[in-house]
């Protein structure tokens, strides 16, 4: 398992990186390398040029701007667990992070890399949906913001055009009336989930749900929201009957494909179980 030979450049600005990528024709960006390097070693990918984003200043750092938390694309998975601003304003990421891979991988892997790759079994991309995040993308026409709902398009396909860079993630800050929960079912801790989900909702003082976003991963070609469930929960207070009712909506909402790991019926079953647990968790204030 040796990668094919490639050239390497470390750019300091988005423009330089973009230009280097465009010029090479057959290039890949590299952030943490935790998905890319194994793919190179297995020769599943063999670009001529690697453009290292590590030195691009705009991609580093976590800052709060009003109600928006801006998380630089190069923020490591491990920082989701240690960064106070994330714990305070985007707690769903902190809750999901321990489930992403293992410490060694979390020390290198980046949020931008994970969301750019958009593996359908990954935790963070789904949390972008649940948190209603926006993706800051640098391309030929400069920088634009794409909402998560429009970002995930198909298997490993996102709103990123070839050569575009995911610069940062903008996450609306949670307030006192927000509740959130994350959970996943894996055979072993650190594995990609058989089924996973995160939710974040705004609750009335009396415990009724004003609105809620629920995103599943490992159930489809992209992370997906279960919109009929979200709609059925709006305006309601969580109780056993409501949970059972919305669990019943899962089958119509999700359509997992048959694969070598799990039959679709089992994935649906696990999704119902998980939904029940998450709703139970947020039935009282977080």
């Amino acid at each position: 398992m040796k990668a094919r030979a490639f050239s390497y450049v470390r750019s300091e600005t988005l423009a330089d990186a973009y230009a280097a990528f465009a010029q090479a024709g057959d290039a890949s960006y590299i952030s943490g390398g935790q998905s890319l390097v194994p793919a190179l070693a297995l020769r599943l990918q063999a670009p001529e040029l690697l453009v290292d984003l590590g030195a691009v200043a705009e991609m580093h750092g976590v800052t709060l701007d009003g109600d928006m938390l801006r998380i630089g694309g190069l923020t490591r998975h491990a920082q989701m667990l240690t960064e106070p601003l994330i714990a305070r304003h985007a707690p769903l990421l902190a809750q999901a992070a321990p489930h992403v891979a293992h410490p060694a991988i979390r020390n290198r892997g980046t949020l931008g890399g994970s969301v750019a790759l958009a593996d359908p079994a990954s935790e963070f991309p789904a949390m972008m949906l649940a948190m209603d995040a926006r993706m800051e993308i640098f391309g030929a026409a400069g920088t634009r913001l794409v909402p998560a709902d429009a970002y995930f398009q198909d298997l490993y396909q996102t709103a990123l055009e070839p050569g575009e860079i995911l610069v940062a993630l903008h996450v609306p800050s949670v307030g006192p009336r927000h509740r959130w929960a994350f959970d996943e079912l894996t055979r072993r801790r650190g594995d990609y989930a058989m089924v996973g989900a995160g939710l974040q909702g705004l609750f009335e003082e009396d415990g009724r749900i004003e609105h809620i976003r629920i995103a599943f991963f490992s159930v489809a070609a992209t992370p997906v929201r279960v919109k009929s469930v979200e709609a059925a929960l709006a305006g309601r207070k969580i109780d056993a009957a409501l949970i059972a009712h919305v669990q019943g909506l899962i089958d119509a909402e999700l359509d997992p494909a048959e694969d070598e790991h799990l039959p679709p019926a089992m994935r649906l079953h696990l999704a119902r179980v998980l939904l029940g647990r998450l709703l139970q968790t947020v039935s009282s204030p977080t």
Binding site: K2, A3, R4
Partner: protein, 680 residues
Amino acid sequence: MNAPVTNAPAKPFDRPGHVGQPLSRPNAKRLLAGRGRYVTDITLPRMLHAVFVRSPYAHARIADVDIAAAQAMPGVRLVATGADLARLCTPWVGTLDHFKGMKSPPQLPLPLERAVWAGQAVVAVVADTRALAEDAAEMVAISFEELPPVTDLDMAQAEGAPRVSPELADNMCFRAGLDTGGVDDIFANAAHVVEGEFHFGRHTGVTLEPRAIIADYDPSEERLTVHHATQTPYQFQDLYARHYGIAESRVRVIAPDVGGSFGVKLHVYHEDMAVVGLSMMLGRPVKFVADRTEAFVSDIHARDHRVKARAAVAADGTILAMDVEDETAVGAFSTYPRTSAVEGNQVIRLIGAPYTLAGYRADLKVLFQNKVQTSQYRAVGHPIACAVTERLVDLAGQKAGLDPFAVRAKNMIADDAYPCASATGYKFEALSHQACLAKLHTLMDYDRLRSEQAEARARGIHRGIGIAAFVEITNPSPAFYGIGGARISAQDGAIIKITPSGEVRCLISVTEQGQGTETIMGQIVADYLGVSRDIVDRTSGGAQAQGQRARRRRGHPPGPARRAGSRERRNRRARHRAGAHQPFGGGAHRLFPLRYAARRHQCPALGGASLRTAGLSLRLHQRHSRLPCGGGCRDRAGEDPQAFRGGGLRPHHQSAAGGRTGARRRGAGARRGFLRRVPL
């Protein structure tokens, strides 16, 4: 269980000091400090690297191989096909003579006409680095014509099924049966019949260190040196010599540190055989290290079985008989030299082993299919036999209204019934299933667990309690395979030298791959000679490697053991003065009296091998240790679980090792098979 068997000395190990003690491993610190030396760490001058182009098809005709583009790639020294290697290497056939009717097609390092499993190596590329070799391997163009593959048991046996080997009449590799007689009658008259069908998915051993080999052929002396991550250097010395036509004395196989084996590293792999030929073609050392993806498609697999089994049960829960059909799907041929049939053979012989059965019948079918070859992997056949047996026993208990403990207690071989034999013919020397079951009952606090279970069940939590008994085959001796014509451990042994400075050097043929062999040998030798193990230097793992790797490994026993040791030494000296028989009596660090070393001794007890002194070295080299198969059998569940931590010697290390668990048993094994106490 530890009672000595035939011709063991009356009072062996009358100076216990190390055997039985929980000693640290003398080599652990070295390995932890990163100072291990694995094949991967070895770089020889002028060494090249081999990679293999593999078949993406389970079954395909190799229509054409175009290597021209690969040959032209930078750093490439050789691109070799099956035909190139077939000119050097004679084919091998994975059958054993005592398995009557067994068949398997001949194998070569790389195939000539057909690829028979997905992942089979087809073309070898040798280059200056592994990366360059991989670059060139991408340029090898092989035209495959797909053939219908056989991919499961039913397909293999179906009428008109495709044949895995056109030269064989069908896909049946081996068929065997056992029958005590009277089984049909027992079933016809039994109060209950319980049955089940059991499917076992393929397993493989995943060692931390993958398979690794460097073959270094020196044409000037026609000498082959192989650095090999293997469990069995002597076996490979024999095989490389025979199949490549090199004098055995000119083949040396060195097993340096080996990072786990589990039975995976004792079979003939096509890549390994190829690497020897590649080195001969090039006259340069050639290295191959399987990466993990290659390991999954080329390391042996195991335990692909479907078992249909039933038991006849009397109204009171007595299990009367078992009737078993085991079908196992192996690879496209039987693995060499241990074959792919031993596992199934052990399954049908081990089923029911802990229990008294009046009747037993089994039918074993070993079938070829187009998948990775299978063979011996950890506890060969045992888990399957155990799972099937214990499920039947549980079902029998349910039918008869007996608790899982009660049904076992009722049916186990009684502790006072030994020596005896199982219904399948295994001879048992002295097991203790009943005592062990009783102890287990207390240790696990069964009654409390049951009430906790009932309480949890009421809360919707389902918690299972499983109980299993089994008999493990240990130490079956070189005759185990030798009877079938495979020279596997015929040359295993140990050489002990005593140096002029009074140190002991122990050279052992069995290898250390993490299970503590060197520690065990050090314990045995130190106690036997009555010295501290600090002065025993152990070297393992090399056919003709003795003396090459002699390293000083000073392990110190923990404090209390040390103090106990010195008290023991004082006692020993006292006994010595009193005239007790002590060939090498004396303090741990005293020099050996030269008069012992200067004599020459004949030693009939060692099967005719001579115990001689060459200069100052004393040689104890036993070539054949034969043990009764049942001699090493024991009831695993009956021992202290502590003893199993870190594992022990596997059955494959038969001869020199003795038993495989607690040091006490190691000592017992040593008495029987290895170092006999020799009157000097």
